[in-house]
């Protein structure tokens, strides 16, 4: 493809290349809108590529990252993400990091999502020229103790929050101006590292984290902007203490502002939210129209959730099913499950999930499957589904190390809290952490090219997936007339789009005569690098959840490809894998339990053969006499099956 510079030429070229062999009746418009001017990518595929990224990244701009001694700033995070080495604390006498870290492979895209709520306060306390630098608040902050993490974190809990008077009050600084300065720096860093040339090697997004911890529950969201058109200040917990307020403000200041701004918010760690992240109390409003309006706004601003990261998985649980659900437990949900033992919130909500096990409760709504069912129940009741959730994963690194999700070289994600094997292998006391944590995962999208517009459009339409770390590439299509031999057809992907919908979509209306929907699930394993082979796949599953007309929930996991009994295992003395698996899998599957009157969702889960958990590898690398108690604790899982999850496809009667 020639290098084109004028955007109208780009549009023209797009229109020509859009012809993928058959008109798609659902998409008369171009596949995505171009909202910025840049060189056209030389690599463009109308049938879309898998791109891997990280949309949850903290640097020293975040209060907790700074407290934990990380000094890497957004520029360092971007450099790491695109494949360069950076240094981590502990810091030497000159303030330089002493650990060198580098990704095996660069990411395709990422966003720096620091805690914007306390931008000004961190700036004020770390700039020696600031008026409040020597205040007690700032001196204690720079000492870097747990009490600071708690004190600063607690400011994000009240629903009538107040900034620290010593910093932002009368004798303090102009915190709005300081926050604006920091936000300007965040934007400049994203622009500096965004590859706008035809190589399209690396895409960055301007973003931040809204970090409300109301009721000591984790209800955070990462706010990701499509392009450089962003509000003057980030909307944080102090301006909008409730998520509903965040959504309204994002609509007002971005989505409906008429400035070309576009945004979405991605909640994470529902597993620590005590039933609150996916609550359906609509601020206590009882009028149906008010509830519909809330649900619509939520669905508009939050089309995705982060299903896996450093602080565990939020896909499903072994202990907290949807009330009334008739289904056996899914043992595979024990993978990186943070809180298998906790009180059950039931239909209610609790307090205290963020401050360690033993507090708060766990709800069926804290997991993707429960939230999806709840969303369909709301659809039946209101006519609007607030939880039509696509999935991604990310790391939540607080070391400015996006994409550092590899199990065999993890250096921790929380600065000096996790910077030695012993610290990583110790169960946490106050905040969730230590042994129960893991290196996190990656966000995946299927997009025509690696540019902001293409990747953001994929996020918005939910053509996304998450992985627990490996670069598995999963495809998932749903339709009514896929032939059973499609897996032998080299044109599978083109036919997948032509005759159905991809992950994240809704099944088209059933043509008369079709008895059940047909799904195509396929995946390629992580390929072999020069010094590190990829792990074979074991199987692909399709998870179906549905609600019948009287509201009874159902859930079932179907194995559709591969072999659950392939006997693959791991030698626990060496972490050498044993047994065979698959380089790629493909299956065409028709739903044997389909009833046309029932709302349903379907998503694909791709499982690798078992491999050693990071903790097992760390233990093996330590001399026997130096191994902490965790290494001989039989309740800690020693192996796991890394995996990928696709966004669901929904069926509506």
């Amino acid at each position: 493809m020639h290098k084109l510079t004028a955007s109208w030429l780009v549009v023209a070229a797009l229109t020509i290349s859009c012809d993928n062999g058959g008109k798609s009746t659902r998409e008369q418009a171009p596949p995505f809108v171009r909202t910025e001017s840049r060189e056209a990518c030389s690599d463009y595929d109308a049938l879309k590529r898998p791109l891997f990224g990280d949309l949850h990244v903290h640097t020293a701009l975040s209060f907790d990252s700074y407290i934990w001694d990380n000094r890497n700033i957004p520029e360092d995070a971007y450099r790491f993400g695109r494949g360069e080495a950076i240094r981590l604390e502990p810091l030497d006498a000159d303030g330089h990091g002493t650990r060198v870290v580098q990704l095996e492979r660069p990411l395709d895209f990422m966003a720096d999502t620091d805690h914007a709520d306390l931008f000004a306060e961190v700036q004020a306390c770390t700039d020696p020229r600031s008026r409040v630098y020597d205040s007690d608040r700032c001196v204690v902050f720079r000492e870097g103790s747990t009490s600071s993490t708690v004190a600063w974190g607690m400011s994000l809990v009240p629903t009538a929050p107040e900034r620290f008077p010593a910093v932002c009050g009368k004798s303090g600084i102009d915190c709005a101006a300081a926050a604006g300065d920091v936000w300007g720096g965040v934007q400049r860093a994203a622009e500096l590292y965004y590859d706008r040339t035809a190589s399209c090697r690396f895409t960055t997004f301007v973003g931040y984290e809204w970090s409300g911890a109301n009721n000591l529950s984790s209800i955070h969201r990462n706010v990701i902007f499509r392009n450089a058109e962003v509000p003057a200040l980030p909307i944080t917990h102090f301006e909008q203490p409730l998520p509903e307020g965040l959504w309204s403000a994002l609509e007002e200041q971005c989505l409906d502002a008429g400035t070309g701004c576009d945004v979405l918010a991605i909640p994470h760690n529902s597993n620590l939210s005590n039933g609150r992240l996916f609550s359906t109390d609509y601020l206590g409003l009882t009028d149906i129209e008010d509830q519909r309006s809330q649900a619509r706004r939520r669905a508009r601003v939050e089309p995705l959730m982060e299903v896996f990261q450093h602080k565990g998985e939020s896909e499903c649980s072994t202990q907290f099913p949807f009330p009334g659900l008739q289904a056996g437990p899914d043992e595979l949900c024990a993978f990186e499950e943070q809180r298998p033992v906790a009180d059950n919130c039931g239909e209610g909500e609790g307090i205290g999930g963020v401050i360690g096990s033993g507090n708060g409760c766990v709800s069926y709504r804290d997991f993707l499957r429960g939230a999806l069912l709840r969303g369909m129940a709301e659809e039946m009741r209101l006519g609007v589904n607030p939880f039509r959730l696509g999935v991604i994963a990310s790391t939540d690194t607080h070391n400015a190390t996006p994409g550092a999700a590899e199990e065999d070289r993890w250096q921790g994600h929380s600065g000096d809290q996790e910077d030695t094997p012993v610290k990583r292998l110790t169960p946490a006391s106050l905040l969730p952490g230590g042994l129960a944590n893991n290196p996190g995962g990656l966000a995946g999208v299927w997009a025509e090219e690696n540019s902001r517009d293409a990747v953001f459009a994929a996020l918005a339409r939910r053509e996304t997936f998450g992985t627990s770390g490996p670069r598995i590439a999963p495809r998932f299509f749903g339709g009514w007339r896929y032939g059973g031999d499609l897996c032998a057809n080299p044109d599978l992907v083109r036919i997948g789009y032509r005759d159905g919908v991809a992950m994240g979509g809704e099944l088209p209306k059933s043509p008369g005569g079709a008895s059940a929907p047909v799904f195509v699930a396929a995946a390629l394993r992580d390929p072999d690098l020069t010094d590190r082979p990829g792990t074979p796949l074991q199987r692909i599953q399709i998870v179906k959840g549905w609600i019948d007309a009287d509201g009874t929930p159902h859930e079932r996991v179907f194995d559709v490809a591969g072999n659950a009994s392939n006997g693959a295992s791991v030698d626990l003395d060496t972490c050498e894998p044993r047994g065979t698996g698959y380089d790629e899998l493909c299956s065409v599957w028709s739903d044997p339990t389909f009833e046309p009157s029932q709302h349903a969702y379907y998503y694909a889960r791709v499982l690798e053969n078992p491999t050693c958990r990071w903790s097992t590898r760390e233990c093996l690398a330590l001399a026997p006499e130096s191994r902490p108690p965790a290494c001989s604790d039989p309740t800690i899982l020693k192996t796991g099956q890394e995996r990928a999850w696709t966004s669901p496809i929904w069926y509506e009667p």
Binding site: R475, V493, D528, T530
Partner: protein
Amino acid sequence: MESVLSDEKVHAPPAPERRTRGAAPAIAIASVVLAIAALGSLAIARVNASRRAADAVTAHAVGDARHIEVSAAAADALAREQARSNGTQPSAELRALAIRDHVDREILYREAQALDLGRDDPIVKRRLIQKMEALIEAAVPDDPPTDAEVSAWFWAHSAELEQPTRVSLTHVFFRRDRIDGDLERVAAEAIAALEGGAAPSSMGDPFVRGSTFAARNRDELAAIFGAEFAARVLDSPEKKWVGPIPSSYGWHLVRVDAREGARLPDIAEVRPRVVAALVNERRERTRRETLDRLRSQYEIVTPPG
């Protein structure tokens, strides 16, 4: 025993000698006496210290440093800051109060300087170092690098600016287990069909990551197909179907559609990067030269070895 309030050392009375048995009560009494004596010394030290503190109330700043003038402009600035903090214009009384506070702070600052209180304070030291660094930074010339400088840097760093070989390719994928019979024969037949005009998208097995790739370098191809495939394909002849080439997934027939050999980009393409590097170098050089100049005017003594 050293008093924290003054430089005077208060000496403790000497320790009592060892006594023989039977003298224990005497020791106890002696200890009490000594304790009282010690307390007494402390008391003396404290009185001495408070006398010192009283002396300290006299100003140590001398001469011009004792002259403080608050200009009209400065007073206005103080009033504006008050207005911004409080949201309203300050009354005359509040203005006067602000000025007095400002003056008091200035007095304390000058006294602190006269007493050299900043000498051993690491926070003050670091701040002063930062101010000097900022001064040096401000002295760096900020005119943009000339074309000649850009060109010179470009050619001096051409090795690191070189872009690796990139290929665009189309491929046909065969699953490992799908090849029945002799792999080489099957591949040769398929290649013959392709060269005879068969469409690549009609042959082989589906490869869900795509069938054509544009301008990918070796690392990017390895990230898709595996390292071995990438190495093999990089050198394949153009516009010709070759195979079977193994990957992490099975076997492929590959046609390299275009190759861009390792090349040096145009200066125009990389100018922003070169300019950034030049500005950085200039900053570093200025800093080094300034420090060298200053160091040459100091006498430095360091431990041997």
